[in-house]
């Protein structure tokens, strides 16, 4: 057992990357998220678990203002990224999403070359001055996403021609190409086979030294494997949030207990 892992489990001095206070979300009349307070810690993987419709994806989508695109959605409360309110009028959601990247459930590469999939973000955000710099970002992103060796000889073939697992890693490469500070993942492995899942989980563990990762997953075992913190949502409430090992061996709340041991749906 590495000492560092034990240290992490102790109440950590990790600083809070995202601070949410009193967050409420309404979809029209439907009160989807009720008074959520949470601190997402830097350099850690935080897993959101809970049954379908519990609000975990809704909360995830608040963190990079994806809910702005849903016309009926209304968000109240405060969400701070490094102390700055991300819902402040002066914040450009597009810039925010470069800092807070997202990977979705189904791999959704652009119908373009592998290279262009990764180069797109850095290009539109004007992160490079020339082709050489762009090449460098594409390569390093694909390397971080553990995909480089498989695609380096066919960077100009369409991203949609890759296998499902490769497509998902391509989407991760695309998300990290803009050097985000936080990476949000909404069930990133639900469409992948066990080997591709293991590769993505390995990747998550690798990249968390550089980004804070928040992952929504329906696989309890995946949450247990990849995260250091786990938050359990139920019916719009954040029921319990704590160190992952503690949540899975001795949860404090009976609702958490029932859910993670397979007693309520």
């Amino acid at each position: 057992m590495k000492d560092i892992q034990v240290e992490e489990r102790a109440v950590s001095d990790h600083k809070s990357k995202i601070t949410a206070r009193g967050v409420q979300v309404y979809y029209g009349q439907n009160h989807a998220l009720k008074d959520v307070d949470v601190d997402i810690l830097e350099g850690m993987v935080t897993a959101f678990i809970g049954p379908s419709g519990c609000g975990k994806s809704t909360f995830l989508r608040c963190l990079n203002r994806m809910n702005d695109t849903v016309s009926s959605a209304r968000v109240e409360g405060k969400i701070l990224l490094d102390g700055d309110d991300i819902y402040d009028r002066s914040v450009d959601p597009v810039q925010l999403r470069a800092k807070v990247g997202m990977v979705f459930q189904k791999p959704n590469p652009f119908p373009k070359a592998i290279y262009d999939n990764v180069a797109y973000g850095p290009k539109i955000h004007g992160m490079t001055r020339n082709k050489a710099e762009l090449d460098e970002i594409v390569e390093s992103s694909l390397r971080k996403a553990a995909l480089w060796n498989e695609v380096k000889d066919r960077l100009q073939s369409p991203g949609t021609g890759l296998s499902g697992g490769q497509q998902q890693r391509l989407c991760i490469a695309r998300a990290i190409a803009t050097s985000p500070e936080v990476l949000l993942m909404d069930e990133p492995c639900s469409a992948l086979d066990p080997i591709a899942t293991a590769q993505v989980e390995e990747l998550i563990d690798d990249i968390r030294s550089q980004f804070s990762v928040v992952i929504v997953t329906h696989s309890m075992q995946q949450a247990a494997r990849v995260s250091q913190r786990t938050a359990f949502f139920h019916m719009g409430h954040l029921v319990e949030y704590g160190e992952t090992g503690q949540i899975f061996t001795s949860p404090q709340n009976p609702r958490t207990e029932s859910y993670i041991s397979g007693r309520i749906g």
């Binding site: 075992q221 061996t249 001795s250 207990e257 993670i260 041991s261 397979g262 007693r263 309520i264």
Partner: protein, 236 residues
């Protein structure tokens, strides 16, 4: 606790706990029979206890294998995980207690060839009955998730310690009075020490109950009364 959505999981967990109770029954029986064999100098009964230890060992293997299978196939969490972990620790304690019963039976065969030491077999028998009642209560506390009863077992282990202290002095006196008692008293002392250890295992099981119920191991030192390590044993 409400049942699992997958009912086969409940059956698996109930299954291993039922096996633990059966194994506990075998160990309690072995201890009482061994103590009786000592008291009544019954060689046949002692041989039965020795032979019966194999069944206890096989039971342990079976339960450990079942636990490994549940971990591999069901990936238990929370209380389910603690149930499997505590079962594995408890059967370890029971197996060890079974070994002590077997050892008692073996020594009783040797002691049956010697001159009886006055009152010793009776004291040992009382100690064995006390320890068996602790073991029984610890297992009852386990199956009914009864933290109060578990605490009670932890407290009552003091009685066993005190009985051990008193037989320790008793044997010492016998040995000083007549050196011909030394061989028998050495055997009797090992027996008493082993029974005292069964008491510690019962306490350990009670602590597993507290862990199962609360998710935390009890921190405070349980009461102890074994003072023989502090006494000046040999005089003169």
């Amino acid at each position: 606790m409400e049942p699992h959505i997958r009912s086969a999981f409940d059956k698996d967990l109930e299954g291993i706990q039922a096996l633990v109770m059966r194994m506990g029954g075998l160990v309690e029986h072995a201890l009482l029979q061994a103590a009786q064999a000592l008291e009544t100098r019954d060689d046949a009964l002692a041989e039965d206890v020795r032979a019966g230890d194999r069944a206890i060992d096989e039971m342990e293997d079976l339960i450990q294998t079942e636990c490994a299978r549940i971990i591999a196939t069901r990936a238990p969490n929370a209380t389910d995980l603690r149930t499997v972990l505590t079962v594995m620790r408890i059967v370890g304690s029971l197996e060890r207690s079974g070994d002590y019963a077997k050892n008692l039976a073996k020594r009783s065969l040797v002691l049956a060839q010697m001159r009886p030491v006055n009152g010793a077999a009776g004291s040992i028998s009382r100690m064995a009955r006390t320890v068996v009642s602790l073991l029984k209560d610890a297992l009852d506390a386990y199956i009914s998730r009864d933290a109060h009863l578990a605490e009670d077992v932890r407290r009552r282990d003091v009685e066993v310690d005190q009985m051990y202290n008193s037989v320790f002095r008793e044997f010492l006196t016998h040995m000083m009075e007549d050196p011909r008692n030394i061989t028998a008293c050495m055997h009797l002392h090992f027996i008493a020490k082993n029974i005292e250890r069964v008491g510690d295992h019962a306490t350990g099981i009670a602590e597993q109950v507290l862990y199962l119920v609360s998710g935390e191991m009890p921190l405070d030192d349980r009461p102890k009364a074994d003072t023989t390590t502090e006494m000046p044993h040999v005089q003169g």
